[in-house]
Amino acid sequence: MVKTRNYPNYTGLIMRRMEIDRGGCSLFGMMDETGEKFSGAQVVKAIAKMQDRENGLGGGFAGYGIYPSFKDHYAFHLLYNDEKAKELTEDYLEENYSIEKAEPIPTRKNTMIMAPPLLWRYFLSAKETKVNNGIDQDFVVSTVMKINREIEGAFVISSGKNMGIFKGVGFSEEVGKFFRLEKYKGYAWTAHGRFPTNTVGWWGGSHPFGLLDWSVIHNGEISSYGINKRYLENFGYNCTLFTDTEVITYLFDLLARKHGFDFNVIGRILAAPFWDEIGRLPDNQREICKALRMAYGSALVNGPFAIIIGHTGGIVGINDRIKLRPLVAARKDGILYLSSEESGIREVCSSPDEVWMPEAGEPVIGKLRGLDG
């Protein structure tokens, strides 16, 4: 969801108005754990099946493995209000990165998609002289934060390697067609159909939300937002968008990339088990869970949510600690499916080997074989 205060000074097409994004929302995720690639058409079909859960005010997709010819470059997807924003952003990028390629993101005319902003993508590598601590990921994070915060009318929606986020205002199915997703092939895809209440959505506010190769799609509203945001500020993350999804993305970046936890541990932080449950665990597990709750209490995400996180290594689905939002999982022939409703899965896989409802707080992890993390 999107909160309304102190939003960055965007105007016009990109930033219509930031308001509440709550209520329904549909999620879909699909990955081939063997690394076999498939086209985006399937996820478009699956998310379209659950159109009841969206209201035409936002849809989006993330695909992994889609830019094999530029797999070592950061692929930046940019939304611009106008040429001036583009100029300022490109000046800034040129100063700090070598730009391997810059081009408009190919789209097809779609009367259902109203007034799209300028859509550009860049394949970049950071200039060594600009990266002072030797970790260019931190530098990319700061670039994204800087552009989104400081350049009026410019917004980075995607900044990972060999992956991309495509999103906009409209029904997810139309957004998918608009971006010609059937032309891309990836080993993992996520899709989101949005149901923001009471406002017009804006392009940057649609899901997935991305940072580096993280992409997050989210259904729900978190009541712990106030403290999650303040907690992240301690670690230099500025929550400029006032959205739950942004907070969840940063929490993943902090916990996985900086603190080095695997998804099972992250699940125990974001959707911590209850003390009763912790009390019944074997000694070593109990000690770990207790310590995690003590140290990461402010990172507990409280309130109803179902999220699917995408990253280079795969996709992960997780629910809140009492499962207040739907999430179904299925497997068939090395493919993992995650969906808000089973109908989405059946649409693209009529007879899965197994279908199950993940427990509250229990992550479902799709992991690319032969890849660490």
């Binding site: 205060r5 106030g226 303040r230 301690n234 070593n284 140290a295 109803p304």
Partner: protein, 505 residues
């Protein structure tokens, strides 16, 4: 010259038809208000001695007594209030400092009453605490910034966790010394804390040998008088609190009058019977933050780093930077006592004019520690006039880890906040050492009432956070989005870090 002493604040209204001349009031009142006249077979009441504690009213078997405000008035004057005039009359008579008890009773803004809470509607469901688990468990102590897990064999915790206090509810009993309150009162606090799963605090008066068995649920205090501080005392407690200041009397020490220093108190405090127990304004070994650090580490050394060591200060103008210094000096928790915090005895002029309200102190300290990236290093315990569960929940949303209650606990045991604790004549048997009075407090019943209070507030807190869609107290802690201010100016809202009513997220 006509005697110019202030009129009594109270009038005793006795319904003579109801009064059965049982004389319970005459026997029981420690202030000798009531007296039986056998010749006339009437009970006469001397209003001038009445402190308004309502004890006689409570014990009168026929409900013949009503204690009322005395309607006698001076000419109305907003500058020369009755209180101002009366205080001068008292001082002109005594030539001394006016003493009082309990917390500041002046009408400074009570920010709790200007803050409203949030609740869920539609887009996120509220949670029903009767049907779903709702967690209030709280830990007090230093937390690591990150946890490391050793995955080499069975996953094992690789980060050492500092000692913690584990609370079943984020409410503890604040420091009240044995001496200022009676043995039975201490016993009830110790038992209620132990049975409920929270903590009580010895205050600066040492720990009576009978109470060592409650040590695992006791926070032992080390104050400037060092009363009763021994190796055994330090080892007995679950945590140690260095008392620098108290909300009711920032900047000054304590004074337990000799009349209250009975034999068992003399033994516990390690001072001669009948002598005044004076604790100096500063600790005579702490004149700087470095000195405080030395004491913190001396206490940690003495207890082998097995217990959290914290520091209690009064909320004053500079509370945020002071707290930052205290955390950096090694404290595992800071207890902050706001200006409405209670006391057994304090100069009235100090109680009513020094310090800042706890609401502001929590907000600025929490923000400051976060800005400096050291919030994890110490817990914040807030104290000073918590009257109800909504005050507690607001304090936690502002950033406190837990709260201390003391006046509320005494009220649960009978206290009516008459502010006469310093006289040692408490009719309710709480703030007194007179055996005739102390036996009025039944420790079993008092324990039960204290536990009831903790239970009732905990249930209410669960209802309220459940309404916000939150099922663990840590998601409320520092979550100021759940608060909105009403009737506050822009600067106050900014200091509290909250938005005005009507503003969405």
């Amino acid at each position: 010259m006509v005697k110019s002493s202030p009129p009594s604040g109270f009038l005793i209204d006795r319904d003579d038809e109801r009064c059965i001349r049982c004389q319970a009031c005459a026997r029981m009142c420690s202030n000798d208000v009531h007296a039986y006249d056998p010749e006339e077979d009437i009970i006469v009441s001397d209003n001038t001695k009445c402190v308004g504690c309502h004890f006689c009213e409570a014990i009168c078997p026929t409900s013949a007594l009503i204690v009322k405000h005395n309607p006698s008035q001076y000419r109305e004057n907003f500058n020369w209030t009755s209180e101002a005039i009366n205080d001068i009359k008292i001082q002109a008579g005594s030539g001394g400092v006016i003493l009082t008890g309990m917390g500041c009773d002046k009408p400074y803004t009570v920010y709790w009453d200007h803050i409203l809470l949030n609740a869920s509607q539609v887009t996120n469901p509220s949670i029903d605490p009767l049907r779903e688990p709702m967690e209030l468990k709280t830990f007090i102590g230093r937390k690591p910034d990150r946890i490391e897990i050793d995955h080499s064999t069975e996953p094992k915790l690789a980060t050492e966790i500092s000692p913690q206090l584990e609370l079943e509810t984020p409410i503890m009993f604040s420091a009240m010394s044995y001496g200022s309150i009676s043995y039975n009162t201490c016993l009830a606090l110790a038992r209620a804390a132990s049975e409920f799963g929270t903590f009580w605090n010895t205050g600066e008066g040492g720990l009576h040998s009978d109470f060592y068995e409650y040590g695992p649920r006791t926070i032992v205090q080390v104050a400037s008088g060092r009363f009763g501080v021994t190796r055994e005392y330090l080892s007995a407690g679950a945590a140690i609190e260095i008392k620098i200041g108290q909300g009711a009397k920032p900047g000054i020490g304590g004074h337990l009058p000799g009349e209250k220093v009975t034999d068992p108190i003399s033994e516990t405090r390690m001072i001669p019977t009948g002598t005044d127990a004076l604790s100096p304004a500063p600790h005579h070994d702490i004149y700087s933050i470095e000195d405080l650090r030395q004491l913190i580490y001396a206490l940690k050394e003495a207890t082998r780093y097995e217990k959290p060591v914290g520091v209690k200060i009064a909320a004053v103008h500079n509370v945020a930077p002071i707290s930052s210094g205290i955390v950096r000096a090694g404290a595992d928790f800071i207890a902050i006592d706001g200006t409405r915090g209670g006391t057994g005895a304090a100069p009235k002029v100090i109680r009513d004019n020094v310090g800042i309200p706890i609401e502001m102190a929590i907000a600025v300290v929490d923000s400051r520690l976060r800005e400096e990236g050291i919030r994890n290093q110490a817990s914040i315990i807030a104290a000073g006039g918590f009257r109800k569960s909504s005050d507690v929940i607001k304090a936690i949303a502002l950033g406190a880890d837990a709260v201390y209650i003391a006046t509320s606990a005494l009220v649960a045991m009978g206290c009516t906040v008459c502010q006469k604790c310093y006289t040692g004549k408490c009719n309710w048997g709480i703030a007194t050492q007179d055996p005739y009075l102390t036996k009025r407090l039944n420790p079993e019943i008092a324990t039960r009432r204290l536990k009831n209070l903790l239970r009732a507030w905990s249930l209410e807190i669960k209802e309220m956070i459940g309404g916000m869609g939150i099922n663990a107290i840590e998601s409320l802690r520092g979550n100021r989005e759940q608060l909105r201010g009403t009737g506050l100016n822009e600067v106050e809202l900014k200091m509290l870090g909250i938005k005005p009513v009507g503003e969405a997220w």
